[in-house]
């Protein structure tokens, strides 16, 4: 089983400058991220703190903000796309 994770420009240096990373893991967002941290240890502190996502990090599963789902426990279906993006954008 594989999930594609889209990496924002700001984080690409810690994932060998890749825009997307294929992760062989299954289950929840939390489990996908843990697998990603295993491969790229420097990523962990950049987007998480005390086991939670930092407050200005948004994560989407299949284009839906995980805060509309179960947060880090949101299920990720096989073949779907996880997107990490900075929250500080847009607005007035």
């Amino acid at each position: 089983m594989a999930v594609t994770v889209k990496i924002p420009a700001q984080l690409r240096p810690v994932v060998d400058n890749q825009a997307t990373v294929s992760v062989n893991a299954s289950g929840t967002v939390s489990e996908i991220l843990d697998a990603l941290y295993g491969e790229f240890p420097d990523l962990k502190d950049r987007i998480s703190e005390n086991g939670e996502l930092r407050r200005f990090v948004n994560v989407y599963v299949a284009d839906e903000d995980i805060r509309f789902g179960d947060g880090l426990e949101t299920a990720v279906a096989d073949g779907s796309e996880v997107t990490i993006l900075p929250a500080v954008a847009g607005g007035c």
Binding site: K6, P8, A9, Q10, A19, R46, I47, R54, R55, F56, V57, N58, Y60, D63, D65, R67, F68, T83, L85, P86, A87, V88, A89, G90, G91, C92
Partner: protein
Amino acid sequence: MAVDAPQIKSTSTEQCLKCKECGNEYPLEARFVCEQCFGPLEVQYDFGGLDVAEAKRKIQAGPQSIWRYSDFLPFEEQPKSVLATGMTPLIHATRLGAYLGGLKNVYIKNDAANPTHSFKDRVVSIAIAKARELGYDVIACASTGNLANAVAAHAAAAGLDSYVFIPTDLEEQKILATGVYGTELVGVKGNYDDVNRLCTELSAEYDWAFVNINMRPYYSEGSKTLAYEAIEQLGWEVPDRVVAPIASGSLFTKLFKGYNEWLDVGLVDGKTPIFHGAQATGCNPVATAFENGNDFCQPVKPDTIAKSLAIGNPADGPYALDVARGTGGSIEQVTDDEIRAGIKLLAHTTGVFTETAGGVTVASLKKLADRGEIDPDETVVVYITGEGLKTLDAARGTFEKYEIDPTVDAFNHFVPTPVTA
């Protein structure tokens, strides 16, 4: 159209970008999030070298636009812009104050009186000036409408190409008033938060100046000028309270920054105003967090007529909460019916026709007045950020129109009752 004359800054204000979360510093470049913690970056000034008397003299002798405040904006030299923005009227709203129970000093800052009829002209002026300084040829934005108007117009005036991304269901008036400037207009099937997410991704792929993404630290500084102008127009006084709309929370937090900068450097005496934010019940993530005592905002799916405030995932929400709580203020929420009533109340008592966002703000002011929170002698500045002609549907069906034959008898048959509030 006035072209502001270039003017060299005479006062030294060292600047950098600083992370609001962890304090990391970066040079003034096209960057909007901290590489270490993803926190937002904000322009940081060192006003230690500022000659206050000289700064005040320069402001008063400056152009009738936001560039009179260039010592407090992130540029080495005063930029030029073709569409002069700012110095919009501050109206002493005596009839509105009387209607609200005898409030003597309610002031309406009517920022619809800008080139594209909203406060977005301010932030876009700053963003485009910075984009040109950094060498960009293409300007872009994710917009709920007012920003679209401003980006398209100011890019056209500057001779730059632009791409404007909007939700497809935007009010027709805002779409027409954007396309007319010759921008590349892209309707995105989704809500504003979808548009914003798309643009955040595109900003990594295209070397463009996205005014509210990679230019955001500069763009947002433009909102401070709404605080500076109010202080000047009140005769160098700080108001006791401000009421302002909240979408992402950027305007709200930058008003706070603007008032405090001038208090801190000593340009004006007094204390920080009490800050009241205004949201629509149909898009209330910040108001809900305020009521629940949370320091984070759970995103919502917007469903409100106040489309210019329909940001379900507010980037500056946590900071807006800090401002409201830290000043002893509040964040109000009002229904669509209250928004329509707010538009009508402002129109009937001041002659100012505002868009739905202004209806949210006036309805929130009314809530505060009804609760007795405002002392009759307090000075209250109410920020009206956009023009009623852009959201005409909100006025439809809110009044009666008489149709008569062209005879005196026909007219005399109707004796319309006065409509004043």
